[in-house]
């Protein structure tokens, strides 16, 4: 694979979205068999990227891309190295198997096409996350995975539990995503680079920066929420509301690994610091233990698997941050191993649900006769999960212990956590893989195909919503899962076995390059399926022993776990609901406080703001006016007219009846007109007279039609408050105006008008010339305003709700 493959790589990244667009059509044409052609897309991508294996094995990283938003320094560029390639192969390979599986699982579901579409969109998004080189491209795909996960979890949206889970997942991972964006932008700010491949070179600068810790926390916020670390883990078990293929694909094998992937990807840039090596193991360890303990309490197969996934993610985070030799190796191995065995187990759980009608472990049993192949796949996966040779899971566990052993307290604590966690996971693995199959045949509801396990919205009548029951006779003939649903588990389980057996080749192809990419230096893994005597092996034996014991005492363990959890009482899941309710109620209270609904309050706040706007800057920036000069030649007649205006004003305020108010308004208006006349504005005076007359007339018309008292009696406190606000504003305006007119005046415009009105514009009345010619566009707007006002008033008067429009004589609507 070389640089000229760039268009093909681009096509491979875009192909899932294109396939998603045609999936519904294909399903309408082919029914559930559309899964086959659709599965070719991820299979093709898998095959395509296999071609990169030789290069990546050799330590090379493939980069390439296109300019996307050069103005914002964002490129659509990819980095395909030892870390991203196994992910790519996992994502595309498992997608193909999941599509086939969904073909069988959702057979007959009316929205199966949409389901395929969402799965493909998710695959495209996840692929983008793991190959992205550019920060913002990574973020975009990250959020796309959150969005597609939202759509998939909420697939059966008629149930409130599904809706809740979908929103919860989106809010938690989306919120984390925003933290991630903050972190990435902060890193960009600190280092000046916006791609991962360049970031490595700036790692020392980044780690030395005072903002390193903030950036780390923000990025961890994104990674921990996506990878369900405690206390952000609660969305993952709730995401089990989604159909099982979704759980198998997103919430075990791929999407939840995105956070771990991010940590691995940024390990060279952010890792190897005390903060990194403390926070990650602590959170990881707590998650590991919490996940397994809560998992013990569950009886639903999917929930048991979900909590072990949480625990596994905790283990992965713990090892990614542990910082000792072998730690990163173990993380790489465990990641791949987990994807393989967890995917299988989820698909098995789905198959059991599909065929037997229930996922409750207390009710299942004796299925080995009816579903032998499923049982075989389940056992292979459980053996890998439990960490038994020669499976890949054993190699991973050995490597984990290899990394953890040491004599300092830190190593001891985490080793203990790992042993306990792994032991419990062993028990749960076999609980899922063994218990439903062995033992006596039980009374089971029987198969239901497609429809009832994922109830669609009842746009179609006659489909019942009840889960797990379909009214058929108990003990109905349970048969093996269809081939479409068997392919996935079998392939993945065998892969886990093969990888363990052919460990040398596996390490050379996948895990060593992966670890080298994470560590940014050449690393080699040598562990093989052949156990050899050592402390890690001893720990493995202890783990297995613990697991076996707990398995046989599973019911007691379940009760113990349930009791201790009840004792604690509260958990982040309830916290989420409480937080949401609190948020809604709090928002409601705050909004009502601000938006009171009263016009009077609104106007008051506005004027308080205006008063502050006028007075504060004058005070702060010392823009007070200097004392004005009493005009030298102020004639008595001028002062009298001013006095009349002011008297008119106060008369309006104090008016006790309509007549006084109207007359006073007229008085102040006419006084203003006289003022205009006194100071050389006859046109203005004329217009003011006319407008004032009209205003008074219309006011009188309105006031006499309505039975109003024009005076309002404000109580003492209110009057004082209003008066103060009004005085503050008035004073502010006066002071500002005074200050403004004390600036030397620029008379150029006035001179221009006075010079050219007659000569060029042929008019003597300069004001008129300005209105009509120099500033005619203002007049155009003014005329438009008057016209529209007329129309608006007509509409106001004419349209009455209830239809009793009374047409006037000249109304166009009136019939002749």
């Amino acid at each position: 694979m070389a640089a000229h493959d760039a268009p093909y790589i681009f096509l491979a990244l875009i192909a899932p979205f294109l396939a998603a667009a045609i999936a519904p059509l294909l399903t309408r044409a082919l029914g559930h068999w559309a899964a086959l052609p659709l599965a070719l897309v991820p299979a093709g991508i898998f095959a395509f990227f296999c071609r990169a294996l030789p290069d990546v094995q050799g330590g090379q990283a493939l980069t390439g891309g296109y300019l996307w938003v050069p103005s914002f320094n964002v490129s659509y560029s990819w980095l395909i190295d030892g870390l991203s390639l196994p992910f790519v192969l996992l994502i595309s390979g498992i997608c193909a198997l999941i599509l086939l599986y969904s073909g069988g699982y959702l057979k007959g579901h009316p929205q199966q096409g949409r389901f395929f579409s969402f799965i493909l969109m998710f695959m495209g998004s996840m692929l983008g996350v793991v190959v992205s080189d550019s920060f913002l491209m990574l973020f975009i795909y990250w959020e796309l995975t959150s969005i597609t996960s939202f759509l998939l979890i909420g697939f059966d949206h008629s149930r409130e539990a599904s809706r809740r889970a979908a929103i919860q997942a989106l809010v938690v991972t989306g919120g984390g995503g925003l933290a991630l964006l903050g972190g990435l932008l902060l890193v960009w700010n600190i280092t000046g680079v916006s791609t991962i491949s360049l970031l490595i070179e700036y790692a020392p600068a980044l780690k030395a920066s005072p903002y390193y810790f903030a950036a780390l926390l923000l990025i961890l916020g994104g990674a921990f929420t996506k990878s369900a670390q405690f206390p952000f883990h609660f969305w993952l078990p709730n995401a089990m509301e989604a159909p099982t293929p979704v759980s198998a694909y997103l919430h075990s094998a791929t999407m939840v690994k995105a956070g771990v992937f991010l940590l691995m990807r940024l390990q060279p840039a952010l890792g190897d610091t005390p903060a990194w090596e403390t926070i990650l193991p602590v959170f990881g360890g707590v998650t590991l233990l919490a996940g397994t303990v809560i998992g013990l309490r569950q009886t639903d197969l999917k929930l048991m698997l979900a909590y072990t996934t949480v625990a596994s993610l905790g283990l992965l985070v713990m090892m990614t941050g542990f910082g000792t030799p072998h730690a990163l190796e173990s993380a790489a191995l465990y990641l791949i191993a987990h994807a393989l065995f967890k995917g299988t187990l989820f698909m098995v759980a789905g198959a059991i649900d599909h065929e037997a009608g229930t996922r409750d472990i207390t009710r299942l049993g004796g299925l080995w006769r009816a579903m032998p192949l499923t049982f075989a796949a389940a056992m292979l996966a459980a053996l890998s999960m439990g960490g038994l040779p020669p499976f890949l899971g054993f190699l991973a566990k050995e490597e984990v212990y290899e990394a953890l052993v040491g004599t300092n307290p830190r190593a001891l604590a985490f080793t203990l956590a790992a042993v306990i966690g792994n032991g419990l996971m062993f028990a749960l693995a076999f609980a899922v893989a063994l218990k439903p199959f062995v033992g006596p045949q039980r009374d089971l509801p029987g198969p239901h195909h497609g429809a009832a396990s994922v109830a669609p919205p009842s746009a179609l009548p006659g489909i019942s919503h009840s889960r797990g029951e379909n009214g058929k006779a108990h003990g109905h003939h349970i048969h093996e899962a269809p081939p479409l649903m068997l392919t996935g588990p079998v392939v993945l389980a065998l892969a886990g076995l093969a990888a363990g057996i052919f460990s040398q080749a596996f390490h050379a192809t996948f895990s060593s390059p992966m670890t080298s990419a994470i560590a940014h230096e050449a690393r080699e893994i040598t562990i093989s399926a052949v156990p050899h005597l050592s402390l890690p092996f001893a720990l493995s034996l202890v783990t297995i022993a613990l697991g076996v014991v707990v398995y046989f005492l599973l019911d007691r363990a379940r009760e113990a776990a349930a009791a201790s959890l009840e004792a604690i009482g509260w958990g982040p899941d309830q916290g989420f609901d409480q937080a949401m309710r609190g948020l809604i109620k709090g928002a409601h209270v705050i909004t009502r406080k601000i938006q009171t609904g009263r016009l009077e309050t609104y106007i008051m706040v506005v004027f308080i703001v205006i008063a502050a706007t006028l007075l504060l800057p004058m005070a702060i920036f010392a823009e007070w006016p200097s004392l004005p000069v009493w005009p030298a030649e102020a004639g008595i007649h001028e002062l009298v007219i001013f006095a009349i205006a002011v008297i008119g004003l106060f008369a309006v305020v104090r008016a006790a009846d309509r007549l006084t108010a109207i007359v006073s308004l007229g008085i102040q208006g006419f006084a203003v007109a006289l003022i205009y006349m006194l100071y050389g504005a006859p046109d203005l005076a004329f217009t003011q007279f006319m407008v004032e007359t009209l205003s008074v007339v219309i006011l009188a018309l309105v006031m006499t039609r309505l039975d109003l008292q024009p005076s309002d009696h404000r109580h003492g406190r209110e009057m004082v408050k209003d008066a103060l606000i009004a005085l503050a504003c008035g004073a502010g305006f006066t002071l500002l105006l005074l200050r403004a007119v004390q600036v030397p005046f620029n008379t150029s415009l006035t001179e221009f008008f006075s010079q050219w009105s007659k000569i060029v514009a042929h008019g003597s009345n300069v004001v008129n010339v300005i209105i009509v010619d120099f500033r005619g566009t203002d007049t155009l707007g003014e005329i438009a305003v008057v016209t529209i006002t007329g129309l608006v008033i007509l509409a106001l008067i004419r349209i009455r709700v209830g239809g009793d429009v009374k047409p006037a004589d000249n109304d166009p609507e009136r019939s002749a």
Binding site: V69, S71, L144, I147, H157, S158, R163, I167, L170, G174, G175, L178, L186, N189, P457, S458, L583, I584, A587, I590, T591, Q595, L599, Y602, I603, V606, V609, T613, M618, E623, L737, R739, A740, N746, T747, S748, L749, F752, W756, I759, V760, D773, F774, G776, T777, D778, L780, G781, E782, T787, I788, L791, V792, L794, A795, I799, V801, V805, P812, E813
Partner: protein, 520 residues
């Protein structure tokens, strides 16, 4: 007019004698076109069919004019046309730079989408009493505001669009409309009056009303003039228009009362005029004062964002929820204005354009939801996904777009603004943008879950279809948002150029005063 009777030197000193290139007529074309068509529509008020046949093509024509204007401005830089050919700054100049042209085009597109949706939403009575003339005059006022280069003229266009908006608001005279209109009218009147007062003070200080002239003179005034107070008055006036906290009461009080097309056009256009005016005055004309008030605008921005997004969560009526989302968007735009650098201003411009398109689309979506579901309240709305999956898909896309999630158009400006906030040390603003984005996501997805995903209690849902008048604008605007989200480069680059042009208005001044700014 006997030109020979006017001495040549008088003409040279008073008028622009150089011939006007043909494409410069595009500068005045949008408002004139709107007023012309509006006038014709007033004359044919009673002819329903003719109204539709005239309006929609006319709106299409407006979009073409706006696009052509943008193309010319991209090619040539800011262009000026003086009304009456009077020498600037004495006459009224219309100066279009990239900012004005971009806003203008977005306005035209929104108007076209609104017009098409109106065909289905606006009934006969309303059309008789002037819906389309009001629409055209409002759009004409908005265009005029974006294109003018004279500050008093800006006030006049503000009033044109305000009175037209009153008309649209009260059309139908329903009780809620009258109640909402009272509050809207009085509060907006105070706002534009404050603007007029600020213009008056500005005239007292500068003696000129031409924006380029003022921009050139502002740095020379120094301590002579009360610039800080004057600037704050402008800021306050535009904050009222743009619905910033705490003077945005009028928006949640009235936007949910008229027909949905009217509400959508308001949400898309009216608040952005306030934002545009704020940017024009505080970034281009008074940059020093704008920088000095950066903290004030920043605090207002953060408060607006947070109260807006909390307000959105608190609503049961989806129209009121959208009103609060408008406010949240304004807060985000204002934080870009507060930061004042090129990256921040370009983010603010980009976000404004995105908001114009997406908010209108969201209101149209709400209208369809109300029609299909029979109610606008989240307590009663349900089952819309089952009724129309296509509608649900478009709705979800729009919800994600307004929340700022990729791959939609809201993501890029948000990322730009957060980055700018971090670059300039304003961590709190960046954090506020991210938090308000999360809160908006919560509000939107809850609304989607309740109204679309949740099934009605009765269980049975009758599938419904969107009419052409509903689907075309909604799908068109949504596709535009998706397109810009996937390929934002052209718009982003334009926004950056526009922002540079505002921060260093050399080209703007040059287009108004080709031979240098006149000194008094």
């Amino acid at each position: 007019m006997a030109a020979s009777s006017i001495p040549l030197e008088a003409l040279e000193k008073s008028m622009v004698l150089a011939p006007v290139p043909a494409e410069h007529w595009l500068v005045i074309a949008p408002p004139v076109w709107c007023m012309l068509v509006g006038a014709i529509l007033i004359m044919v008020r009673k002819r329903m069919g003719l109204q539709s046949w005239l309006s929609i093509p006319a709106l299409g024509g407006l979009v073409l004019i706006d696009a052509a204007l943008l193309a010319v401005v991209i090619r040539e830089g800011p262009i000026t046309m003086v009304m009456g050919r009077w020498l600037p700054p004495f006459g009224i100049a219309f100066t279009v730079d990239l900012t004005g042209a971009l806003f203008n085009l977005a306005c035209g597109i929104a108007a076209l989408a609104g017009g098409i949706a109106a065909l289905g939403d606006i009934d006969r009575t309303r059309r008789t009493y002037g819906f389309f003339p009001f629409l055209f005059l409002m759009v004409g006022g908005v265009s005029g505001a974006f294109l003018t280069g004279d500050i008093f003229n800006l006030y006049v266009w503000f009033e044109v669009l305000l009175i037209s908006s009153f008309g649209l608001l009260i059309l139908g005279s329903e009780r809620e409309q009258l109640d909402g209109a009272t509050k809207y009218a009085i509060l907006n009147l105070i706002g534009t009056t404050l603007f007029l007062i600020a213009v008056g003070i500005l005239y007292a200080v500068f003696g000129t009303l031409n924006m380029a002239d003022i921009a050139a003179k502002a740095p020379t005034l120094g301590h002579d003039a009360p610039m800080m107070t004057l600037s704050l008055v402008f800021i306050a006036a535009f904050m009222m228009k743009a619905a910033a906290f705490p003077v945005n009461f009028w928006l949640p009080a009235s936007y949910h009362t008229p027909r949905i097309v009217v509400a959508g056009l308001f949400a898309g256009l009216l608040t952005k005029v306030g934002v545009y005016a704020l940017i024009r005055v505080m970034v281009m004309m008074f940059p020093e004062e704008g920088n000095a008030y950066s903290i004030v605008i920043g605090v207002v921005a953060v408060l607006t964002m947070l109260t807006g997004s909390l307000g959105a969560i608190a609503q049961s009526d989806i129209r009121r929820m959208l009103g609060y989302m408008v406010i949240t968007g304004i807060g985000i735009i204002l934080s870009g204005v507060a930061l004042g650098a090129q990256t921040a201003i370009s983010g603010a411009l980009f976000y404004s354009l995105h908001s114009m398109i997406v908010m209108l689309a969201l209101y149209l979506m709400a209208g369809i939801a109300g029609r299909m579901g029979g109610s606008f309240s989240l307590h009663e709305l349900s089952g819309l996904y089952a009724k129309s999956p296509l509608f649900a898909a478009l709705t979800l896309a729009l919800f994600f777009s307004v929340s700022g999630l990729p791959p939609f158009s809201g993501f890029w400006p948000k990322a730009m603004l957060v980055k700018a906030a971090f670059d300039f040390g304003a961590w709190w603003q960046g954090a506020a943008i991210l938090v308000s984005g999360l809160l908006t996501t919560i509000a939107a997805t809850r609304a989607f879950a309740l109204g679309w995903w949740r099934m009605p209690a009765s269980g049975a849902v009758v599938p419904a279809r969107m009419t052409a008048a509903e689907l075309i604008p909604l799908a068109g605007l949504t596709l535009l948002s998706v397109g810009v989200g996937i390929y934002p480069e052209p718009l982003l680059a334009l926004a950056q150029t526009a922002a540079s042009g505002l921060l260093e208005p050399v080209a703007y001044l040059h287009s108004v005063f080709p031979s240098g700014v006149p000194t008094p």
